[in-house]
């Protein structure tokens, strides 16, 4: 069944999927990778973003990506509030490891049930002008449904990278991930910096959710499908490396796509996680970890 046409299509589909995976995983990359907070609830925030996009699309005809952008401040504030609760209840007392994990599990379930109670349990999806269109270049088909999320995912990665590398708060976030005490000695407040970082991570979920509902239907429990992938991408990319997150997402996306095309889709996830294990065996810190 091999053909160059199929190969080219599989690679392109994998690249596009990787861009989307990067968008979904950026929040985890920032919160888990840099702040070392195991925010298991991140996929639930992504689903919340998806429902926000659904409501705005269904009620006012808003484009999901526009909604994702508009809601980033709301999600930022929500994230900041969640971190403050987490900090005062667990981190400040040095109980963040296991109890913190339970806290985020709790948030995940509360959000899931709240969404079920509010929106019911029907599958929700949005249709936009571009989701059903596709273009073809020399036998390679590109579906806008994946192209748009990929472009947005790459843009989000670039924006986050620039934020961390070029701005005061971005550098402070990098600093707090490396040496919290040193940052405090320099007069900066690590809690405030971590609050900002957590808020930014959750704000990313707003856009990621909008992209998700453009691609596939969601129900409140869809978050469970993404937990494994998000953390795997963050670990494979190297904890704290935003660029690494994009590369790892693309690696997993292309691996899934090639497996689906040539060797049977059933193997796609197993091979993706096999790549993760292999990469960690060779580079325990991940592809771009320090």
């Amino acid at each position: 069944m091999f053909s160059w046409d199929l190969l080219a299509n599989a690679v392109v589909a994998g690249l596009l999927l990787g861009g989307f995976y990067a968008a979904v995983s950026l929040g985890v990359g920032l919160i888990f990778g840099l702040l070392d907070i195991a925010n298991i609830a991140q996929p639930a925030f992504v689903i919340l973003g998806a429902y926000a996009a659904y409501v705005m699309n269904n009620s006012f005809g808003f484009d999901p990506i526009l909604t994702g952008l508009l809601f980033t401040p709301v999600f930022y504030l929500l994230g900041a509030a969640v971190y403050r609760v987490y900090y005062s209840s667990f981190e400040r007392r040095g109980e963040e490891s296991l109890r913190g994990l339970v806290f985020f599990f709790g948030i995940l379930f509360i959000m899931e049930v709240s969404l079920s109670m509010t929106f019911g349990v029907d599958y929700r999806l949005v249709q936009t002008a571009y989701t059903s269109r596709s273009i073809e270049f020399g036998g390679v088909g590109i579906a806008f449904r994946y192209l748009v999320p990929c472009v947005v995912g790459v843009a989000m990665t670039l924006a986050l990278h620039l934020f961390l590398a070029r701005t005061f708060y971005g550098r402070a976030i990098m600093a707090v991930s490396q040496d919290r005490l040193a940052l405090r000695l320099m007069g900066a407040n690590p809690v405030q910096i971590k609050t900002i970082a957590f808020g930014v991570g959750i704000a990313a979920a707003s856009l990621a959710g909008a992209l998700l509902i453009s691609i596939a239907p969601v129900i409140p429990s869809t978050d469970r499908d993404y937990i494994g992938r998000m953390f795997a991408i963050t670990v494979l990319g190297g904890m704290g490396s935003i660029g690494g997150t994009l590369v790892a997402a693309v690696v997993l996306g292309v691996a899934e796509s090639l497996m689906s095309t040539f060797f049977g889709p059933s193997w796609s996830l197993a091979v993706s996680f096999g790549i993760l294990l292999l990469a960690l065996a060779v580079r325990p810190a991940g592809l771009f970890g320090r």
Partner: protein, 424 residues
């Protein structure tokens, strides 16, 4: 003096007997007011909740209808249920609580094959009569005589999803020769694929693609492209709602146009999916259990039930049309009610004996159970989506959009063949 004493004794005895009689009468009244409790777990959250919640609403409507008519055996009916979270691991705990703590009189299953699987051994151990709510081939291995299935799969449930699809395909001219089958790595799709393979072998068709995919797949384009590369005449898909949407969208994106496509796609029956997919549904031939076609709506009682369901669905936040599972869920209650009334009690063995030998009148038509508790004669519909324009919900309320092609006795229109002709 003796006469006087005898009289006093007689009065005392009479008073005592009267008091005892009144007391026992009071007990009968109290007993009469005790509800008949029907217990079950139901997927109110999790992956199958989109069907679990409508199933619950239909049962609640049945309970209200029964209680309005005086209940069962003169006792009101009460539903005792817990959210199984679409998680089979919760089933033993839920049913133990229902039986040991809540002391329910009867149990029924929650929605779905995966949730019935862990319940069946419990029912067998406790010798319970159990009606299953849409489980495919759950009793094939156990052959438990106290199990009954409301899904109209028929005596050979594994082939039930595919049989109408392949029969229709083989009736067409030119006759298709090659087939691609694909489905999710989950219990229902796997069962459906096993049935499809059996039918393909019988029909002498050539299989050019036979693969499965994990349910958490995000991008279905590579799968559909690989199918297209094999150029099949028939594409049989056994999928759950998210993958159904993914496969259908991908098929349109890569212009996969076999002669006939569909078969076992779960999700196309849901109003939210139908209204989201709109014209993308045109031409798909898929299994279903209900359609608002004249041949189906003529069944007594179904119009009234659907009217009540649709009136309550919005408030309950569930599928607004309820054309897939709800009538069957209501029928579960009707079967139980008729069996309890006829046997004049709640004896599990008597109920099972009665159910095995009786034809029930329900809102889904006449129900007769046969081998392994499945319907004696299968009635899985094969429908084709036709002339769908836009995404308005109203077009799905009436006939003509989901045309029944199979079985012949319920047929309400003709197939548009090949698939590409329906897209024009």
């Amino acid at each position: 003096m003796i006469r006087h004493r005898s009289l006093r004794l007689a009065v005392t005895l009479t008073a005592t007997v009267m008091t005892l009689l009144l007391a026992s009468g009071a007990m009968f009244v109290a007993r009469g007011a005790d509800p008949i409790k029907i217990g079950f777990g139901m997927a109110l959250t999790g992956g199958l909740s989109a069907n679990g919640k409508p199933a619950l609403l239909a049962l609640q409507i049945w309970k209200d209808d029964v209680n309005k008519k005086g209940g069962l055996l003169g006792r009101p009916v009460e539903l005792v249920y817990y959210d199984d979270q679409t998680n089979p691991a919760t089933i033993p705990g839920i049913y133990t609580k229902l039986l040991e703590v809540d002391k329910v009189d009867l149990v029924i299953s929650g929605y779905g094959t995966n949730l019935i699987a862990p319940l069946l051994p419990i029912a067998m151990e406790r010798k319970l009569t159990l009606i299953g709510m849409f489980g495919l081939a759950n009793n094939e291995k156990y052959q438990y005589p106290g199990y009954f299935q409301i899904q109209p799969a028929g005596p050979d449930p594994q082939t039930s999803t595919a049989i109408g699809f392949f029969e229709l395909a083989l009736r067409q001219n030119p006759k298709p020769q090659t087939v691609a089958i694909v489905g999710a790595d989950a219990e229902y799709p796997q069962n459906a694929l096993v049935g499809a393979r059996e039918l393909i072998k019988k029909a002498g068709l050539k299989t050019v693609y036979d693969r499965t995919y994990p349910p958490s797949t995000v991008d279905y384009t590579p799968i559909v492209r690989a199918i297209k590369a094999t150029n099949p005449d028939i594409v049989f898909i056994a999928s759950y709602p998210p993958d159904t949407v993914g496969m259908l969208r991908a098929a349109h994106e890569v212009a996969l146009q076999p002669k006939i496509m569909g078969g076992g796609m779960v999700g196309l029956q849901f109003t939210s999916v139908m209204t989201s997919m709109g014209p993308m549904l045109n031409g798909i031939v898929n299994y279903d259990f209900w359609a608002p076609e004249p041949t189906m709506m003529a069944i007594p009682g179904v119009k009234e039930f659907l009217k009540e369901y649709q009136a309550r669905a919005e408030k309950a936040g569930v599928d607004p049309l309820g054309y897939y599972l709800p009538p069957y869920s209501y029928a579960v209650g009707q079967v139980l009610a008729q069996a309890v009334t006829a046997t004049k009690g709640l004896d599990q063995a008597k109920l099972a004996d009665y159910m095995r030998g009786t034809e029930f009148d329900t809102v889904i038509g006449k129900v007769k159970f046969g081998k392994n508790g499945e319907w004696a004669k299968g009635r899985t519909l094969m429908v084709q989506y036709q002339k769908i324009q836009g995404t308005s919900i109203d077009q799905f309320r009436g006939p003509g959009k989901k045309v029944v092609l199979y079985p012949d006795e319920l047929k309400s229109g003709s197939i548009v063949y090949p698939y590409s002709a329906a897209l024009k």
